[in-house]
């Protein structure tokens, strides 16, 4: 049996990236395959909420315990990806007769935009978590420990020897190039797409794609997470994520065929806005940057063929015991913030198959960039007074910002003025963080994620990226693809100031002149 790797991991979301890191830290030779980019599926399409677990405390104590335990671990190992915002559970008069724990002074200092009609507010140790940074940091560490990571590489087929998976056949979605890779164990960590991956091996997993739509508001209206203290419903969590605020989510069962082409509907937007305004009335007048949706990979318990008892818990399937297919493991269910635990469980299963005895160290070992999570101390390492671009980079790249080459003054120019992204940081992302498209660059640097959604920077960014990729002729195509992606998120919220920006964006890109300088 040819063997290129110890383990092949399918999926570059948080679970796949975390599993790649865990396997690599335990000394395995790892290959990770992702059909698009890191965190381009559900991992990058959620609230970015670092749950306290309080939401599950009553009905699902196991999930609640998992949450609070992982919450503490992530704060210590992923300080650059986590922000300790704290959270509030607020009770509105329509939710209950009495609320608990209201300390007016504290509540309104921490959350000045919160609905003043509230009758109760309880503080919880919520936080926000940046899924893009989290996936990227896990991958960076995996690569540091010898892993091979291939993005834009789609698995088309399993290689089976008898009833054992021994490898995969792949196609590069950008070049069309095909390849074969071999390993004794393959981990299916493809989120909702795990269903389709399993089918390739002739295995059935009962999954239930649940679409969750979210809205992004232009700035932080509070610096704490706001939860609605009521039975879980749509649009009851408001998270301050980096420079924006995110409200979500809805929950709608959708067919598998829709998972790759999700569009946020007008009804979803109206619902989220209405519920958002119940949490914070000022959201009615806050600019909406865009709408997006992700798919939760919900799994039915194995002993329930009806699929009624859907769990949000972690599911590890060894397909040898379950389906008689050896060398194949599926890790699914769970949520973003339990990704590390999921990775640990999956890696344990891999090690059992390989008869490797190695301890999991991911709960204690800080991720790259997170050795020092405070921007204030990271920026002190730059010579001289830190610039806006350096401060921005420190916030995003953590202590790895020190690796960015700011020594050439031309590279210090800001490309994205909304999010303070310099040419130097773009060059760093391209050389160190596996960037192929402008959307990849956005996930690594927040470029184009600000108020103008790329209107002002994307031409410059496309030129810079094309040059860094070694082919300046790519620039127009990179920009066009990126604009289509941004446009998709703008259309559902196309009114008010957002529509003004959309008209402006059209003018800037079609005519390369932001406004008319024609002499009368």
């Amino acid at each position: 049996m040819p063997k290129d790797f110890d383990v092949i991991i399918i999926g570059g979301g948080a679970t796949g990236a975390g599993t790649a890191r865990d396997c690599a830290l335990r000394g395995l030779k790892v290959l990770l395959l992702e059909r698009e980019d890191l965190a381009s599926g559900a991992s990058g399409r959620n609230h970015g909420l670092l749950h306290s677990g309080a939401r599950y405390a009553v009905r699902d104590s196991e999930s609640a315990e998992e949450c609070i335990k992982e919450n503490k671990i992530l704060r210590s190992i992923a300080s650059n990806c986590v922000e300790d915002t704290g959270g509030l559970f607020i009770t509105l008069p329509e939710d209950a007769d009495t609320g608990y724990g209201l300390d007016y002074q504290k509540t309104f200092v921490e959350a000045p935009s919160v609905n003043p009609r509230l009758i109760g507010a309880v503080t919880v140790p919520d936080g926000s978590i940046d899924p893009f940074r989290l996936c990227s940091a896990n991958i960076t560490d995996a690569v540091l420990h010898g892993a091979t990571v291939l993005t834009y590489t789609m698995v088309t087929e399993f290689i089976l020897e008898g009833k054992t998976v021994t490898g995969v056949r792949t196609v590069n979605t950008r070049t069309g190039e095909t390849a074969e890779y071999h390993a004794p164990v393959t981990v299916n960590a493809a989120g909702i797409w795990a269903h389709g991956i399993a089918e390739l091996a002739g295995v059935v997993i009962n999954m239930y794609p649940a679409k969750g739509a979210l809205l992004v508001f232009g700035h932080r209206v509070n610096n704490v997470v706001i939860n609605r203290c009521r039975k879980s419903a749509d649009g009851d969590i408001l998270v301050p994520g980096d420079s924006v605020t995110v409200i979500g989510t809805t929950s709608t069962r959708i067919p598998f065929s829709e998972c790759d082409h999700m569009a946020v509907t007008r009804e979803e937007v109206e619902l989220l806005l209405r519920e958002g305004c119940a949490l914070c009335p000022s959201l009615a007048n806050t600019r909406i940057l865009r709408a997006y949706a992700g798919v939760r990979p919900l799994v039915a318990s194995d002993d329930d063929p009806t699929g009624r008892s859907i769990s949000r818990g972690i599911v590890v399937l060894d397909h040898k015991t379950r389906d008689g297919i050896d060398g194949f493991i599926t890790i699914t269910g769970g949520k973003l913030m339990t990704y590390r635990l999921m990775a640990e469980l999956a890696t344990d299963a891999v090690c059992r198959k390989l008869s490797v005895h190695a301890e999991c160290k991911t709960a204690e070992t800080p991720l790259p960039g997170s050795a020092d999570g405070r921007i204030s101390s990271i920026i002190k390492r730059f010579p001289g007074k830190p610039t806006a671009g350096q401060k921005g980079a420190a916030g995003r790249q953590g202590d790895l910002a020190g690796k960015i080459r700011f020594d050439n003054p031309a590279d210090c120019a800001l490309v994205c003025e909304c999010e303070n992204v310099t040419l130097a940081e773009i060059k760093y992302a391209v050389s160190e963080l596996g960037v192929r498209t402008l959307s990849d660059l956005r996930r690594r640097t927040r470029i184009g994620m600000g108020t103008c959604q790329g209107t002002f920077c994307i031409r410059k960014a496309a030129k810079a990226l094309a040059e860094a990729l070694g082919d300046p002729s790519l620039a127009d195509k990179l920009a066009a693809d990126y604009l289509d992606e941004r446009w998709k998120g703008l259309c559902p919220v196309g009114w008010g100031d957002t529509l003004r920006e959309m008209e402006f964006m059209q003018r800037v890109y079609k005519f390369e002149k932001p406004y008319s300088y024609d002499e009368v």
Partner: protein, 412 residues
């Protein structure tokens, strides 16, 4: 570092069109300044996230508010910048800034010793010392202090005769007319009296603009509250408050509620610059001017930045166009570069003069008898930099009106 969460400003209406950058006089002349868009709405998003993103370079903003005039989205860009400076610039003001800002405390001392003060302020060694020790640029001609303040003059010469007029107003003269140029206050009194209007002084304090610019917020807020209370009493007594300084007026009307959070809603409608006040009253026939026979002059109007922001320059030009002997041209809109105390600071002198150059050139090209301008600091800057006299519209009215005949006509 202080954390903030809410910005009352509508900064997300910003579309990033960058028009503000094309009109910013500082950005064109000082590469260290990030410009209004980045310092204002862009920076605000990040400052709301974490105060560490506050940029020192915001201090270069001279608060001319030209960005706000240019903004097609109505974003209060300069207010965002001033507010951020108030919230985050934590360093104590320098002695120099304290001296430049405390116009109503330094003023009385200097006026009392005006001949000595003016002589000394003009001497090269003294200017060198100011330059070296305080950071006030040695090239700068400092405003002269008058020996007799306007208030002193008014009490002695005019106060007793005011009650005879049937209509009464309160006059907010500002620090400049009081300490540096009492003639303006005298002209104001003469014009008002000619129209049959009695002038009353109120217990005013400095409007606070210099204190705001120099980070002395608690002191500015105290003064603002005091002034608003004084205005309330005046309005209650049936006397509207008339001002002559555009910058004072902008501060009283806009900066009090926006930056100092001092509510002025109840008196705002009763505070007016003198030019709109007179224009409206003359246009409606309420006041009737009689112009001097044969009075002639060629003047060029420079609209001060804060007047552009107030949007009231049209009243000045329309009022001046009523004077038969005045040939008035409007200078292209430019900033003179002084911006209150900004241009006095050594670190700003060069940029200040560069900013003003297009205006100075256009004045030299127009070669008027004098420049008309409502702003006192523009006057210092333009006179120092071009040698052309600058007159306040009120002083021009005092010259061009036949005061006695006007009084006769308006008395009946």
């Amino acid at each position: 570092m202080q954390e903030r969460f809410i910005s009352a400003n509508n900064f997300e209406q910003c579309q990033k069109c960058s028009l503000c950058e094309t009109v910013c006089p500082v950005m064109a002349n000082n590469p260290a300044y990030a410009g209004p868009k980045r310092s204002g709405p862009d920076g605000e998003r990040y400052r709301l996230k974490n105060g560490i993103f506050f940029e020192d370079s915001l201090k270069y903003c001279l608060n001319c508010k030209r960005c706000e005039v240019a903004c097609p989205s109505g974003v209060r860009i300069a207010d965002l910048i001033q507010q951020a400076r108030i919230d985050f610039a934590r360093k104590a003001p320098k002695l120099r800034d304290l001296m430049l800002a405390s116009t109503d405390q330094v003023g009385p001392m200097a006026s009392a010793f005006a001949p000595v003060a003016n002589f000394a302020l003009g001497l090269p060694p003294v200017k060198g010392i100011l330059d070296f020790t305080l950071g006030i640029d040695r090239h700068r001609t400092l405003p002269k202090y008058s020996g007799e303040t306007f208030v002193h003059w008014f009490r002695k010469n005019a106060a007793s005769s005011q009650a005879a007029f049937k209509r009464q107003i309160s006059y907010f003269h500002g620090c400049y007319a009081n300490f540096n140029y009492p003639q303006l206050g005298r002209d104001f009194t003469a014009v008002m009296n000619a129209f049959g209007i009695g002038v009353n002084l109120i217990d005013e304090r400095c409007c606070g603009v210099a204190k705001i610019a120099n980070g002395m917020i608690p002191a500015a807020t105290r003064d603002a509250k005091h002034n608003i209370n004084v205005f309330r009493a005046s309005v209650a007594a049936g006397r509207d408050v008339i001002t002559v300084s555009t910058t004072c007026t902008m501060t009283l009307l806009e900066e009090y509620p926006e930056l100092l959070k001092v509510d002025n809603a109840d008196v705002k409608g009763h505070i007016s610059l003198v030019e709109p006040f007179l224009y409206k009253a003359i246009a409606s026939g309420e006041l009737k001017p009689v112009w001097k026979e044969g009075w002639k002059a060629r003047a060029a109007y420079h609209c001060p930045c804060h007047q552009e922001r107030l949007g009231l320059g049209i009243f000045t030009t329309e009022l001046l166009k009523m004077i038969p002997g005045l040939e008035l041209t409007e200078l292209p809109s430019n900033c003179c570069g002084i911006a209150g105390t900004y241009g006095f600071k050594k670190e700003n002198y060069k940029v200040s003069q560069q900013i003003g150059k297009p205006l100075f050139d256009s004045i030299k090209a127009a070669a008027p008898d004098f420049v008309v301008c409502e702003c006192e600091t523009c006057k210092w800057q333009i006179e120092m930099s071009t040698g052309v006299t600058v007159k306040n519209p009120v002083s021009i009215l005092a010259e061009a009106l036949d005061l006695e005949k006007t009084l006769e006509l308006n008395r009946s």
